[in-house]
Amino acid sequence: MTSIASIAAPSQIGFNVRRLREDFPILRQTVHGKPLVYLDNAATTQKPRAVLDALMAYYSEDNANVHRGVHLLSERATQAFEDARATVQRFINAASTREVVFTRNATEGINLVAQTFGRTRLGPGDEVVISAMEHHSNIVPWQMVCREKGASLRVIPITDEGALQLEEYERLLGPHTRLVSIVHLSNALGTINPVQQMIATAHRRGVPVLIDGSQAAHHMTVDVQALDADFYVFTGHKLYGPTGIGVLYGKERLLEEMPPYQGGGDMISSVTFEKTTYNALPYKFEAGTPNIAGAVGLAAAVDYVTAIGMDRITAHERELLAYGTAGLSGVPGLTLIGTAPEKAGVLSFVMDGVHPHDIGTVVDQEGVAIRTGHHCAQPLMQRLGIPATARASLALYTTREEIDALVAALYKVRELFT
């Protein structure tokens, strides 16, 4: 345990994690008689009071349907919904609110692109390039459309440390490549992929790129124009916002060319039984009553992290990742899974002779919530030759003491099983 103390350093100046924790009511509780140590943030993050208040205020004061009514509440609800879109636009630096489509989650964003862009662009013999570290949500939608269109998936291999093999990536890009779809930050390994460079590489060959930013949007600043991403998807609930709201960013030129995803109200400008004219962007992709409160809550979450400063959150989590890496490395029989040079937010590991599920149950009794399993990345687990890992994941409210509690709980695991 001395290794932990030796790397201790002052926390980020001006980043008072203790005070920030008070913004999260759920963190105050005990579980199994122990203070809750919530380290399952890659699955979902907890919500600050500002988000809970925004949801309550919306339903208490403004609730109405959007884009239709002439009455005051409908105007207020529409304003709140469109203000939320503008907040997201600024957050990711999209060129226009027309490029910000609200979805249920990142999965729906990928499915939307697969079923519209994919179905119109893919044909027999065409290829979609993904990577070996993708979440099932960035594998299955492409498999579905590829099967339908006679196209195929090509997979960028990874190193044993969990980094993409970029020379193989360049080799995979060929005359039949129609799209690259890769994860920004791996949920199972924590690897940050060099997406800006990878996008530039694809663009030199005229291939558009979708980035799955589910794990990135709450750990680092995302600038879709600087990245030059063609599509970027993320979800609200990992960004301290509510569940059921996500974002698809798409370049306007591409979104314009794409057919609608679902049909229904709000996505049309006129309907007769003979012909329907579709609505303008982004409404063309938002059929039916949207998750208005979810969008309002997401905007409150974006405002919250923006007020703290994403760069400071990144720095805090980077320091914790180094602290956790050192702490976990000291546990006998523990092996970290995912040790790429560029990492954020995720500590995935296995222990000799102890299955991850048993680790999860034992540390839960100590109040420590971690995720165990294949993390919806079964092909990655097969590549690594393991059935599952245990995963601790960080957030802006994670403390060194919580990492210490995890490490102490892992010593109890060893005690029980050896």
Partner: protein, 152 residues
């Protein structure tokens, strides 16, 4: 750790460390594959059945302490039992770990397997304990398919 000891009883930890019947049976005439999609655990079960009686039982695969110990103790306990007796044991075991039956009401029926009673307090782990038994039922019923814990 007292609560955990209720789940991880010493006999369970022992079977996890040294699983019994952890091998393939060359002359097996019943075989089934079990799969828990939630954790990716796989289990191969082998039975040698003669005249409706299980003469030998074994398993292979990877899994957590609960699933390995469950498979280990199950293969021990079904040897010498008739197929219909093992179907009955499946029901008893399943009811115990899902909390629908009190094992102390009929302690003789499950015998040593009653150590898995603590699993009922850990809902996320019930499938770990029952994977081997689902696989056994599939082998007993001679279904030629991969049985999944998500099938019911």
């Amino acid at each position: 750790m007292s609560d955990l000891r209720e789940l991880y009883q010493e006999v369970i930890l022992d079977h996890n460390r040294r699983p019994r019947n952890f091998r393939a049976i060359e002359s097996a005439n019943r075989h089934a594959e079990g799969y828990n999609p939630l954790c990716g655990d796989r289990l191969s079960l082998y039975l040698k059945v003669e005249d409706g009686v299980i003469k030998d039982a074994s398993f292979q695969g990877s899994g957590c302490a609960i699933s390995k110990a469950s498979a280990s103790m199950m293969t021990d306990s079904v040897k010498g039992k008739t197929l219909s007796e093992t179907r009955d044991m499946f029901e008893q075991f399943h009811q115990m770990v899902t909390g629908n039956a009190d094992p102390l009401a009929n302690p003789e029926r499950l015998g040593k397997l009653a150590v898995f009673e603590g699993v009922r307090n850990y809902p996320a782990r019930v499938k770990c304990a029952s994977l081997a038994w689902h696989t056994l039922r599939s082998a007993v019923d001679a279904k030629d398919e991969v049985v999944s814990t998500e099938a019911e």
